[in-house]
Amino acid sequence: MAKKITIDPVSRIEGHLKIVVEVENGRVKDAWSSGTMARGFEALLTGKDPRDASFVTSRFCGVCYSVHQLASARALDAAFGARVPWGGNLIRNLVMGAEYIYDHPLHFYQLSALDYIDVMAVAEYKGKDKDLLAVRDKIVGLVKAKDTYPLTPRYEPDEFTVKDPEIVISAVKHYIDALKMHSQARNMGAIWGGRTPHYQNIVVGGVTSYPDLNQIARFRTMLDKQKRFIEDVYIPDVLAFGTGPLWPLATMGVGGGHYNYLSYGDFALDPEGKKVVFPAGIIIGLNPANIKVKPVNTEKISESVKYAWYKENKPVHPYSGEQVFDLEKKDAYSFVKAPRYEGKPMEVGPLARMIVAKNPDVLSLVEKGAKPGAVARHAARAIETKLMVDACYTWLDQLQTEMTKPGFKIHDTEHWEPPQTGMGAGFHEAPRGGLGHWIKIKNKKIENYQAVVPSTWNASPRCENGTRGQYEESLIGAPVPDPENPINVVRIVRSFDPCLACAIHLIDPKTNEIRKFIIE
């Protein structure tokens, strides 16, 4: 008999997410993904000076904060007619590169690792490594003091959980090391970003941070250290887990989903954007033996609100998005809307980017038998972190050359004042995936503002024809032998690196309509 399991909250993610799964014969038969918190950022932005948008939308999310600052600034660049000088784009790329370098390892160690290792196995460590013994003593000390929070309570380890004390203890050590590296990577971004979370230097037309050579040297020195951690610790850990104990999960393709992928493309390596770190492309119904990538046409994006707590409306392009909260709506179960490309749900994020790019490292894993799914997402994330490290060195060299030329610029000052009317879209490949912001300006003020963020794509509920969102579809068939211990469900959902606060920010700009649903 089918049994419904509710996981609320799904922890170790950004934001507030509820997952309901129906389990029959030890497998997930159906799934529902619900975003359970909303603020309503668009209403706040309506009527404001358009330049406020990059600052305010940064607060969609404090984990991937500046991705919105950048996408928003790019939408404003388009609407203002601003042309960002190459120097400005280099600095934008570098601070976002720093964000990838902290964000991806943080996701693996702090947000995911506890799903795959039995932390308590460290007590069995018999080796002589001084650092690892210190880790063992620390954890054993917590156990003896009968206080192992927040490492416990937890879902119980299952047959896929790594219990080998040697592997577990080094993973726990790296969990602690990664926190230190995380803090230093953020400091690297702050060299031009000003501070973290929430950079302060990205504005319409470019950046505010005029660089000097000392800063370049400082960034490079810090990058050297990050590179060593990523190459010597992070990537080997992910590959050791993925091709070792987790290989059965990888070859089963647990957490696959719809096999549709979208990447807007981003991170130019030259002023004309001829070479980029992440190419753009669409894949519908992946065939790993013959990957067909089509060009992206953002006009084909629409958002459905059929199962979301917004007033009934047909699917529309984000420019014309009109949403009013309807908290009484029958059949609705999420604050997240359902974006679709040509009516189809898409996965965005590292796996989508690496498949669209036909990355050789990812393809070689596929050749060995790995299928796109939860484990592949972790691998793709690690592989692209390395690409970003390499790109940062390129941008540092370019910035060093550029800034010593006469007439060096970081900002289009001539297009600083808001236009009377205008509209623009801004796209960015954020660590969690493709991100788009759309703005309409009237009388120098924001008339309408919409964002379709990575987790809106991935965490979306069903759309008009009842097709499941990507989280939901990826859960179908997942093994759940014990309904009390749905550890595979959270493994799959976390492999996407959910970010729910970002995904829910929408509301109709017409204040008179808003009042209708507000219960005073």
Binding site: K18, F41, G62, L111
Partner: protein, 340 residues
Amino acid sequence: MGEGNILGKELLKELELCGLNRRDFLKYCSLTAAILGLSELEFVTKVAEALESPSKKPIVIWIEGQACAGCTIALAQISYPSAASIILDKISLRYHHTIMAAAGDVAEKAYHDAVKQGGYLLVVEGSIPSADDRFHMGGGMPFRQRLEESAKNSNAILAVGACSAFGGIPRATPSKGISVSEALKRAGITKPVVNISTCPVHPDHLAGTILYVLVTGKIPELDSKGRPSMYFGDARLLHDNCRRRGHFDAGEFLTDWNDPKQKDWCLFQKGCKGPVAYIDCGIRRWNDGINFCLDCGGLCQACGDPVFYDKVAPLYTAESEISKKIWAMREDTKSKKDQV
């Protein structure tokens, strides 16, 4: 000096694990001791005691309302002492849904057990929707209810970040986010609340306040807005400590970020609200002192003050009501000076 006696072997091992040597630790202690008005020896002894008795770790519950998790990331960014050592060694973190291993019912049980036990430090990130409870549900209950029940059994509450301290950006949205103090007032609950504002919370302010509570068992002295006086308040006006202040007084305002000559000029005309920001950012800076808003050519938007966000908008011009007031104050001071 007898440092070895104070810093026991266990503690030294732990510090080493956090990447701190004895010298770093003592330097850190002497600085903090000075802030707290304690003798260095007394402070080191107290900290050593607090750190070496893990079984007595104070219980902390961290709940997230209408938040962006930026304050959680600020927690993860704390360097001195490291975030890992705070989370694993100094506190017993019973509930924090971005960090904890557990999910769903297992997580909720840990939460309810801790609330039942009582006597914990409650940390709140994010605002509380006042327009309708359904704007934020979690674990089967409205966030408002979670705040009220966890506040009742707490010893003290830290409202971290602009949203929980004063309503922040959500205050201006249709969900009408309100601060922790306001939500508790409406529910008739009286508890000491420390507002550690800024968007997000400054990692040093968070670490320092937690350490203060751990060391003294009390909440720090607060300013008129309920913020720790050691970081905020009348004595900490950013404008007074701004390295661009001379240019403000001289009327030299940056208009072009491309011009190296203007690089250090005052950012007022671009929309800086430093003259109404009562915070120590200018001296403390951010990210272990590497930078802060004004030193990347960015602006202060007084994110640690109750005026943030709705009253400081528009952000990137000098046309807000607040900017006009700042200008009027400047003109007033200038004319008085001219008379002298």
